[in-house]
Amino acid sequence: MHHSARERTLWSIGLLIVLLFALIPVIWIISLSLKTPATVTDKSFIPTEFSLENYKGLFEGGINDSPFIRPLINSIVIAMITTFISIVLASLAAYAIARLRFPGRQLILAGALAVAMFPPISTVGPLFDMWRTLGLYDTYPGLIIPYLTFSLPLAIYTLVAFFREIPWDLEKAAQVDGATQFQAFRKVIVPLAAPGMFTAAILVFIFAWNDFLFAISLTSSDASRTVPAALAFFTGDSQFTQPTGNIAAAAVLVTIPIIIFVLIFQRRIVAGLTSGAVKG
């Protein structure tokens, strides 16, 4: 299709606006994190003096006294365990829904949809009370369990959509060619299912990594507090200094890995995010 110079100019301007809209808040927080403690309040968009002081502050005192290291470890471990369990459970269910005929398939899908719409705040009070009785308050399982519940619908819908596209007959074909059932599963089905499972895993990980409500409601110390919750409790070096620089540095550190991840796997993420919703 041919495009006039005017169309190209208009399009370039639109592109630029979208880019600026998406990137300015990110560039701003990076810029803030690189300012020196003395210039953090200079209000300039680009730092006048660059320093890594704010990052150093996060790691000072080692694992016991640093306000950041423990929460970072908590965030990573909790998000990874959640992702693993969620994908295993969701894969079993999605396999059954995509391949087997049994009454109740629709019920599971409808239930997952209902859970996806459920307001988390409505469960915070009961969980707070139950977890204190059961000894789960301020522990890893205390966060992993609710994350599991609220990530399962996302994982199930993504995986069902992917599993429906798999040509399952290939499994039988491989068996006809002399492969054992296990070989057929491992060599044929696993490679076909892996991209979908990987996509679902990314979405679940981002969900668990992002949560704030459960993280501040069901934890009380660095024993299990994740980074988003820890950020809300950051304090300055003294009571007269604002922790702005340190918050910015911590914010950048928890953001960069996810952004790199999202950018590398963007096609899969887009496919995963839209898989359940569009076929309607």
Partner: protein, 292 residues
Amino acid sequence: MSDRSKSERRLGWMLCAPAAIGMLLVTAYPIGYALVLSVQQVDLRFPNDGGFVGFDNYVAVLTSSLWWTDVFNTVFVTVITVSIELALGMAIALVMHRAIFGRGLVRTSVLIPYGIVTVVAAFSWQFAFAPDTGFINQLPLIADDKNWFGDRFSAFSVIIMAEVWKTTPFMALLLLAGLTTIDDGLYDAAKVDGASPWQRFVKITLPLMKPAILVALLFRTLDAFRIFDTIFIMTAGSQDTESVSILGYNQLISRLNLGLGSAVSVLIFIAVLGIALFFIKALGTRAPEGQS
């Protein structure tokens, strides 16, 4: 029933059971427990006072002006953010769909807000607008000392901007997926018949995208109605910017008043149920999960 279909049924249930239990564990049981708590006096600061109080907690919540202020705030933020997102998301989706060049670049950049932790986004926007650290007040036409978080209207403006920034990508991607299902031949036929671009948008794009739009609106409305992170970080509810989720959190976790807090939780649950039913009715009998 044949043995095969019987065993298939059993296998199906066995495979689904763990996920079903996982989903019920932290939804059905807690909401039942919240119902029980909501008709009792349960205040962890006064563990010895307690007992059944009937609907007293609900009466207390529904007659307090704070609850109704928070309901107004939540509905206000939800309606404004979702409307802006729909318009903006549709624009971005159309731009991506008809991309002349750089489609990948647009997709990459809209995914960045999606990947960012909500709390981090809230801090970034807060620091940008804060009078002591932010660059916004240094821009032309804006007073150098404007205290954005000092009054309700301006605080809400910043909260809404941050929310829109964070969640428009999701909306845009859902709408783009809907757009790609429309047959291009329809546009060509309309063009031949002399329809203007606006007519083509209103008469072809919008009607055919109705299901995709409703699904996107349903998920975003429910999500926006739960707004918590951004308000908690930016104002913690000061200047009358509290949302219902913040009210629930304050009652339950800060004041340890589980009875009153649970009444708030149950009321939020009922509101969300109402919104969901409304959209599902609007979608008609079409299930949004896409049965083939």
